[in-house]
Subunit: 346 residues, 2 copies
């Protein structure tokens, strides 16, 4: 039943092509960095932690065909590869954080030769991969303590196994709660325009036999108004020092609605999704994507030709609307500036 | 440029098939009541005021082929036709209100013979048709006073010419503002699951050369958070005595978001959308529609097989979240119980 979203297999990064789910289960075998860049760009692999791992594997793909011992040439290729991968998507900070981890290997070993650097970078990428697996399970276990029997939970987009190596952030909470034999049900917001909630989250949750109901994004308020949502869990693409959180478009909507209805609203994200370099969410770059994601479905127009479209992929939820942030180090509560720094800083 | 959503043409009710827009402009010619019932049910004609007119025309279709002078048989057919049409959709009260107008014709003329009743019912249906045209223009003119130059407006679903005979409720406000040479722009929420905002509202507004930007429903909060929405106009399917308003699913979401962001939120609806028989929104029946509206697009699955779906077509916005209700008699403000009764009651 386990889902292997991204895996290094014999010199190649194998990823599940998430654009095809739930109708087809297909792998993409990335054998060069350009294929990986495109897979990230068109969302064949998506989700902040999974993108972080994809970036690390992308670096391996970029350097593995390098021949010879010329370290200057090797480092040039290495940094070009990192710079190139950094242009794939702007918002999820895991991408940049994991590229920085890879660069730090080179910095830490100024005297290593090309062969050793290749080996150390490979080890670092595998460490990033394994760390994601462990960290997700720890987050899940912390978050599962928030779920009480009979609770009706709500989530948005896909913060699951498909957004990480194999377990998930927000959905990891559900998997851990299920392991602890808790009874609960989940509403999955479909998450327009690309329907990651409908296509990916429902697919994952049904595989794990979790009681799941799909809704359109505009139905969440109605559910909350009827008292049918007890708690909300969302993932994150970047969290600022003050707790402001960028996540899939529609997350801010849910946070405002949760506040109005007195529903607890939690973010679930690992240390690698925090950007302690920035003070607030205002400094998070928000990716705007092509209009045809909104105006077409499967090539069929769903809007008149020529209409203008606003299509931000993310929004920023101010920290004051967040009840807590579930991390691998436990649940961080307000005041966030102080508590994020003391738990994760330094 | 005018849009004739529904029109009586030579013994037949001609309607625009709105399920085909914006890709195809086609008429359906309803020559019997069953065709009209199905057109209402599958949303070929939709929008509370348009459904009201469709019901009145449906009655004409039901009785026009009646032969002979047997009044008892005629009345039986007439009432069966009304009862049948009343089963097409449950939420929009205009349907029931207009059927009641037709029944009242019969009640008012106890001594009329079959030929006279046919004539009087035809006249009543034409009056309902013309009243909608006039009332929409009056609402539009009242509402246009709320629009100031430079305003960024937001609307949901389609409360336009396509939801009425030819002018609209919420969109009628924009048409009247445009006539008054006001400068403004409109965000149209796409309105899942059936995309009436993307397919119908954008189509209408572009035809009238109104500056229109399409968004997914889950982007409205983000826009409001950035101060990009100055005022919201929505239509209505049923308004209770206390001002609670049922409208397309997602309207309640917008009202809560508007409250949080300090954005004025207006309902635009004629007298025929009020149900003064009920005390509050709790008494409004909410139609739940088939799950495949959410799980499929154009026959293609967008969710895994077997997932549960919650698909209410409407939600109820409590009166306390509504800044004002624009009617043909002017803008009704809180306290609604008192002001609705004094303006519209009796």
């Amino acid at each position: 039943m386990s889902i292997e979203t991204i895996k290094w297999v014999k010199g190649c990064a194998r990823i599940i092509d998430q654009t095809k789910l739930p109708n087809k289960f297909e792998y993409i075998y990335c054998r060069d960095v350009k294929t990986m860049w495109q897979a990230i760009k068109r969302l064949s692999v998506r989700g902040a932690p999974a993108i972080g791992v994809a970036a690390a594997f992308g670096v391996l793909l970029g350097i593995q065909k390098f021949k010879g011992q010329d370290k200057a040439k090797f480092l040039k290729l290495f940094h070009e590869t990192c710079d190139y991968l950094a242009t794939s998507r702007p918002t999820a900070v895991n991408l940049f954080n994991m590229l920085n981890e890879m660069r730090a290997v080179v910095t830490r070993h100024p005297h290593a030769d090309v062969a050793l650097l290749k080996k150390l970078l490979f080890q670092e990428a595998m460490k990033i991969f394994k760390t994601d697996q462990e960290v997700c399970r720890r987050m899940g276990d912390h978050g599962a303590n928030l779920i009480k029997n009979g609770m009706k939970c709500l989530t948005v987009c896909n913060a699951g196994a498909l957004a990480t190596v194999d377990y998930g952030t927000a959905l990891g909470v559900f998997y851990s709660a299920k392991k602890k034999a808790k009874k609960f049900s989940v509403y999955s917001c479909e998450t327009r325009p690309l329907l990651q909630g409908a296509r990916l989250t429902c697919w994952e949750l049904l595989r794990q036999k979790i009681d799941t109901t799909l809704i359109c994004d505009n139905m969440a308020a109605s559910l909350m108004g009827k008292g049918k949502v007890d708690i909300i869990f969302a993932g994150a693409d970047r969290i600022a020092s003050n707790g402001d959180t960028a996540n899939k478009i529609g997350t801010y909507m849910l946070a405002v609605l949760a506040k109005h209805h007195g529903v607890p609203f939690y973010i679930v994200a690992p240390r690698s999704t925090f950007d302690l370099e920035i003070k607030s969410g205002k400094q998070i770059p928000i990716e705007e994507r092509k209009s045809d994601e909104v105006t077409h479905f499967a090539g069929i127009p769903t809007a008149p030709k020529g209409v203008k479209v606003y299509n931000p992929a993310f929004d920023v939820t101010p920290a004051k609307l967040i009840s807590g942030i579930v991390t691998e180090y436990g649940i961080i509560r307000p005041p966030y500036l102080k508590n994020i720094s003391s738990r994760l800083g330094g």
